[in-house]
Amino acid sequence: MQTLTDQNWLLSVGVFLPLLGVLVMLFIPRGEEALVKTVGIVTAGVTLAVGIYTLFAFNYGESQNLQFFVDAEWIPVIKAGYTVGLDGISLPLYFLSMAVTFLVMIYSWDNMPEAGNPKAFFILMLVLQTGMAGTFVAQDLILFFVFFELVLLPMYFMIGVWGGEQRQYASLKFFLYTMFGSAFMLVAFLALFFQTGAESFGFQHLIEAGAGIDKDVQVWIFAGMFLGFAVKVPMFPFHTWLPDAHTQAPTQGSVILAAILLKLGTYGFVRIALPMLPEGAVEWAPVIAILAVIGIIYGALGCLAQTDMKRLIAFSSVAHMGFVMLGISTLTTFGINAALFGMVAHGLITGMLFFVAGSIKHRYHTLEIKRLSGMLIQMPRMGWILGFAAMASLGLPGLAGFWGEFPAILSAYSPGFGLSEPLYRTLMVIAAVGTVLAAGYLLWLYQRTAFGEPSEEFAGMSDAEHNAAGGGHGHVAHSLSSAANDHPDAHADAHDEIHDVGLTEWIAWSPFLIAIVVFGVYPQLMFKIFDPAVTQMIDRMTVTLGK
């Protein structure tokens, strides 16, 4: 595997820049809220600028090779290095983490969760950003592990301090589940290290040497990694932390969880488990596929039973990640490409849904589906955005969600490496039923909340209704001006008026909406980045398994 070392400072800057912002923020008094927020957003913005520069500097012709590669000494005693690099598999996720953090921070400008204290909140988000970006560029198991775990504490505190009623339970559950998985993952990493001759924790070395391990041993090591990554994804029997964490987390936490943190698990499968343990992967693939499809159906049925909008979206994540895992489990170029696309698409779409849910909660102070209705009358723009995101989520062709789901299902028709075709084709059919269920629960959700007349409880409270009553003058002008000045008094008499989408919400959301359309219309934009890297990975697996 070749590596390109031009501009090798770029990734380190991109990963650690947020910590510089944290350092600055530590010296700002807690009372200076505006300054704290500005510094936080500027830091995230500069980080994103580094990310955009990375997008331009990236050599797309060689996206199968690691670029901006650094291999420096870190802990020579245990043969772990500071090895970072970026290839086609990591680049979209790396950039997504930067963009999402930045947009979430903009959203937080005037949508702070109730517990207040923006200083701590913004610091935690920046630390989280370092952990997420670091995980996607790490090319050394120990470095990967450190970044992978670094996201735990900030998310624990975000859910626990700024979350909803059951936040303490949810945060601890999230923490312990992940901790449980990663403890076994670490043991598996060490086993892999020793089985390959205890020479290096570097990915490149392990990919070359890992194939030489006995099949039985590979299966065991894969099991350890499976525990760590499957909890994070989360896959079917390990998913129970997710609905709690998502429901209780503040909007910002939910968005980051959905958009990035869940991808750490699937990314781990693609980056570490499959290429390093090809034989183990082949043995485990049917198990993963079955659990993935159970997750699809179970998640969908779970959605149909929910009465809370946020919890419904959380369960839909279980289903969507099921499609991603199904794609991965086929061990084909097609399936893994679809899975990677599905990861980004799910991040954008479900992130968007959580944003909308958060904003609805902010206005109605409830997310109970049966109390919400007639949103299209009360907040037409919000209602349309919800509809748009729901359509994208159910996999409407032309929007990004389609290109994650449809090829994943299709890829199960002919799985690679002699995996059982009857099994995978059966699973394919069941998964296809899952998409119907997805359309069911999302449309049902949309019907109940957006259509119809506003419920009595909230009737007559919205701007839109006032305008309609007052002759409908200057609708656009009014909503723009209200966006600029509605929030200072929003807390004072929140039940009085239900405003439509505000200015910061527009700024934070429009990149999501645009990206969902762009990737939906022209998916090749992303596939062509993934494909060379995925092809190279599968080719190498073919070579090692063919021996």
């Binding site: 807690r30 870190w74 802990i75 020579p76 005693v77 245990i78 701590a120 120990i142 592990f145 450190v146 970044f147 775990e149 670094l150 735990l152 504490l153 624990y156 505190f157 626990g160 301090v161 936040r167 303490q168 945060s171 601890l172 923490f175 312990l176 901790m179 449980f180 403890a183 076994f184 670490l186 043991v187 060490l190 086993a191 290290f193 020793f194 205890a198």
Partner: protein
């Protein structure tokens, strides 16, 4: 009779050669000895109002004793062996001496205000503390059953008294008595084991014992001897089932003393076990490996499960320290495997160093906060984040590090322990690693519960006055917090210590 004995002495006199003494190598011990006397004398002459100066002086004595440790390490050309190899100053001893002296320094920082404000005897306390430290520093160099025993008693006896230092408090009395009775019992077991060991091998010198003991020619007597010796030290490191003294003693003793016990005194026990395992027992892996395996698995599991149920923070830290002991012990259960003996020693030493830093930090926070809340209940930490964010963040650093979350130092200690165990590659190793992995999660549960109280609960009594800890405690917190972060990000700073070849006379198994 006596006359006959006395008259026999001159006859032996020609055999006796005065040992050559390497003054440089003994300098840390000698500085401590002089320091003990100086503190004692000055304390006699000092008025009560100026007693605070004693703490500062004691701190400087520890730092002064640290200087020769550094110079010896810098010169570091060869090992300095004295008294026929019974007292050895090598790199292994030096890093441990550094650990004990710096731990003592931080404990002194923590004790100063506690003693002053509690109205306890100060001069005597510091004399005893220095005596105990002297015992630990000697333990690092002791390579003979007798010198190990002398070092052990020298470090233990002052500790019994320090545990009971709050003499008007029933709990502190209980702490002292319990510690004393069980400690003496353990010493008796140990001494009995040592006498058997001497009887079986004919020597008290560890290297000679190591040359004699062998799995193939093992006798029942030798097995009993090895087991008794190890069990004697298992008391000191509060390994389950010899841990029952620890929670009561930790809770009753003044908090800085508890910190001292859970870090320094425990480390001394580990040092003794390590020295014995690597020098005296490398031939009897069949005996000590299963024993340590069981002790380690029991210690980490029982300690953790009991810690889950605690409502008092010091008791929780006591049980957590028991369970951390299990993690430290874990690599030693595979010290006899050729592939893992080097990494086992490295793992234990790294763990001891890291554990000292983070645990001292945790205790400093407890001291700082309980000065205000006057309570040891975990619930009294409620809302700490809202009125003392700095302390809350430092506490987060220490507890997360104890839980083993990267990038704080604890992760590397745990990781290294796992690595050493798996290095041996046996099934027993994978089983123990699995048990340890589950324990990591259990431990995270109670550490996170404390952090949850700190960050998420309301202030129990509504008293939001900020905490202003005295400067010495602030210094202790800052030092340990920086240490915890730096060692977590750059673990190589500690990972290079504790090589097997540093321990002179360690026999390859």
């Amino acid at each position: 009779m006596i006359a006959a004995l006395l008259s026999a002495f001159p006859a032996q006199a020609p055999d006796w050669v005065s040992p050559t003494i390497d003054w440089h190598a003994l300098a840390p011990e000698l500085i401590l000895v002089v320091g003990i006397n100086v503190v004692l004398l000055i304390d006699l002459m000092l008025e009560d109002s100026k007693k605070w100066a004693i703490a500062t002086l004691t701190g400087f004595i520890c730092l002064a004793a640290f200087i020769p440790v550094v110079t010896l390490a810098v010169i570091g050309d060869d090992t300095r062996s004295m008294f026929d190899g019974r007292y050895v100053v090598d790199n292994y001893a030096l890093i441990l001496k550094a650990l004990f002296l710096l731990t003592a320094y931080v404990v002194i920082l923590m004790s100063q205000n506690e003693l002053e404000e509690g109205g306890y005897y100060q001069g005597e306390f510091y004399v005893l503390l220095l005596c105990s430290v002297l015992g630990m520093v000697m333990m690092a160099s002791a390579r003979d059953l007798v010198s190990i025993f002398v070092a052990l008693e020298l470090l233990s006896i002052p500790a019994y008294m320090m545990a009971a230092w709050r003499k008007r408090d029933v709990k502190s009395n209980e702490a002292g008595i319990k510690y004393y009775l069980l400690g003496v019992f353990a010493s008796a077991v140990l001494l009995y084991g040592m006498s058997l060991l001497y009887g079986a091998t004919g020597s008290t010198l560890l290297t000679e014992i190591g040359a004699t003991l062998n799995d193939d020619t093992l006798t029942a007597l030798e097995v009993v001897a090895v087991v008794f010796v190890l069990c004697g030290f298992a008391f000191k490191i509060s390994a389950v089932p010899f841990h029952s003294w620890a929670p009561d003693t930790y809770e009753g003793a003044p908090t800085p003393v508890t910190a001292f016990f859970s870090v320094a005194s425990k480390a001394a026990g580990f040092v003794a076990i390590m020295t014995l395992v690597f020098i005296a027992f490398p031939g009897v892996t069949d005996v000590y490996e299963p024993l340590l395996w069981v002790l380690s698995a029991l210690t980490m599991t029982v300690g953790n499960v009991l810690a889950l149920r605690q409502t008092n923070i010091v008791r929780m830290l006591a049980y957590s320290s028991v369970s951390q002991g299990g993690f430290i012990l874990m690599p030693l259960a595979f010290a006899g495997q050729p592939s893992s003996s080097a990494s086992a020693m490295n793992a234990v030493i790294v763990y001891l160093l890291v554990y000292a830093v983070m645990n001292l930090g945790a205790f400093s926070i407890v001291i700082a906060v309980s000065r205000k809340t006057r309570s040891g209940e975990i619930s009294s930490f409620g809302g700490l984040f809202s009125y003392a964010p700095g302390l809350a963040c430092a506490m987060t650093i220490f507890f997360a590090s104890l839980a083993g979350i990267p990038p704080l130092a604890g992760w590397f200690a745990k990781f290294n322990a796992f690595k050493a165990v798996l290095d041996s590659g046996t099934t027993a190793a994978y089983v123990l690693a699995g048990i340890a992995a589950v324990n990591t999660v259990i431990a995270a549960a109670y550490y996170m519960r404390v952090l949850r109280v700190v960050w998420m609960d309301p202030v129990p009594d509504g008293d939001m006055t900020p905490i202003k800890p005295p400067p010495s405690i602030v210094a202790a917190i800052v030092l340990t917090a920086i240490g915890t972060i730096v060692l977590g990000v750059l673990p190589n700073l500690v990972a290079r210590f504790g090589n097997l070849q540093d321990l002179t006379g360690a026999l390859s198994p």
